[in-house]
Subunit: 325 residues, 2 copies
């Protein structure tokens, strides 16, 4: 089966439905920025995981679509607010909402997206609606906690890899885990099946975030939609930076220390840091970690019923692990 | 029955439960500001309405408490974000979160409060849980739309009383309406009973907001927890200001026009504007509008079963209509 084609088909359905959700809503001052961010594209990984998880246990797309859209809209809400907090200028190749409009617009549009996500979720037709709500709400809390940990990480002087993993477990992996869980609940899966899909989503989420950190250093800028080396220039405490803090010595330590301290960083430092990351095997180590979590994700699925959707979940994990964008 | 006493008892229960919800949550950087705002007091009108509406149709407090807390936490979330947007320094006699901490903390703590509200709501045990979620989500959307309309109102040159009523219908009345509706749903009320309590809440919400506008001009500053005349100094488009724009003439028109245009306002203008509001009967007219909506609210309840909770809903409407704070 051509999973690339099928993935694109799902994306088209999701994009089309997102358009319908927002058509003719007022006031414009609230909904125009929401349409702007939601229709600016995006990989739609989370809603596709909701759908595939549901289908893999015998459910169908129509059952899964509203919760899938809810997860995607919630995710976009977090991007809008995170971009304010990170003072980010560009998202998906476009100006961020607080840059194009202003901070108030970005705060309020984000809030409304959160509310719209819940409205869509409340239109879910499932006998397990209580668990679906609980899973979504729990994930929303964890995402906020993860963002708080991320902000703490950025100013803390003592940060280890364990703090980082705890942070991305909440900030990134929680929502992907719960996307898979919600799909499983929609199909009324057994406890074991739900747990298997949760494990898949959680580990995929970790792999996904590590890959994101890696792509800031080795990605293709045109495709990635962010500027390469942005994390380095901003002194962002990525997996790579924290690994480097552990490993590098001598003059290299001084350069990495400047990134960590966000001390006088300018674009010229990017090439130096990249070279250090390569020379100390940090690029290689990060790639191995991505593969490690991806393999756990795939292994989590082994006892689930075999189907095209099941195979596509495996394909998706490998695809994300190998992505260049 | 001593409803003042009973109201205070409900408040104590709500305050106590709010404390329990938040105990030992981490990270501190996220939950400390949440505790700060939630435990700073507040009238707790919305959760009391959830409880009384539920009880008035035969339900009990234990069924209603989680949704009641959810509504209160959601309401506080909107205060935190609105205070950023309005650049407000003081709330309930304390510094606002974005002043005491910073804007990022206020954005993120607000987001987490929204999520915690949903988490509590997802723990609701009711056969009508779908309708309860839907009602809550719809209200959340309307509150955001109302805030967007409010921001539009503040910069628009042509604003009428009808725009104002539309705005407060969403920004303030929607959540009070849905508090009453959720209480009715929890008690598994009939369609007519639910509608009656919705009407009660909606009209009470309108009366409540008009009273809030009025108290900025004639309230007791110590008790009100905000500075008196703040709306005037900020040129806020309240019911009183918009009425004054319609009615006043000559030199008075010039003064009111300056408030409307937010043009060179300083504390000395407050006394002048107050005097105009009194002289043109605008204070009196606003009080009559408060009474008008309060009476509709009370009348909405007339066909509901009589009980102490029913009588207390009537008492509460009159109380809010006569409040000085």
């Amino acid at each position: 089966m051509d999973y690339d084609q099928r993935y694109n088909d799902y994306r088209k359905i999701i994009d089309e439905r997102l358009k319908q959700v927002l058509v003719e809503e007022e006031p414009n001052s609230l909904y125009e920025p929401i349409k702007y961010i939601l229709l600016a594209g995006g990989k739609r990984i989370r809603p596709v995981i909701v759908i595939l998880s549901c289908e893999s246990l015998g459910g169908n797309l129509e059952d899964a679509i509203n919760p899938a859209l809810a997860v995607e809209i919630f995710h976009n809400f977090t991007l809008v607010h995170d971009d304010i907090m990170d003072n980010a200028d560009i998202r998906r190749g476009l100006q961020t909402i607080h840059k194009r409009w202003d901070i108030n617009t970005a705060i309020l549009s984000g809030d409304a997206m959160f509310a719209v996500a819940y409205k869509l979720l409340s239109q879910t037709n499932s006998k397990r609606v209580g668990e679906i709500f609980d899973s979504f709400a729990q994930s929303a809390i964890e995402v906020c906690e993860g963002q708080a940990l991320d902000l703490e990480l950025e100013t803390s002087l003592k940060v280890g890899i364990d703090d980082y993993i705890k942070m991305i477990s909440k900030k990134t992996a929680s929502l992907i885990k719960n996307s898979a869980k919600i799909g499983a609940l929609l199909a009324n899966g057994t406890d074991e099946q739900i747990q298997a899909l949760e494990n898949y989503g959680f580990n995929l989420g970790l792999a996904f975030q590590l890959m994101d950190d890696l792509l800031d250093v080795v990605g293709d800028s045109g495709e990635f939609g962010k500027s390469i080396g942005g994390d380095i220039i901003n002194g962002k405490r990525t997996f790579l930076l924290l690994k480097a803090m552990e490993k590098v010595r001598g003059k290299d330590k001084e350069i990495i220390g400047r990134v960590f301290a966000k001390d006088g960083l300018d674009p010229s430092i990017v090439a130096e840091v990249r070279e250090i990351y390569f020379r100390y095997g940090i690029i290689d180590e990060t790639q191995k970690m991505v593969r490690f979590y991806t393999d756990i994700a795939i292994k989590s699925l082994e006892n689930l019923p075999k189907s095209d959707s099941h195979s596509m979940l495996v394909w998706l994990a490998n695809k994300l692990c190998e992505r260049r964008i």
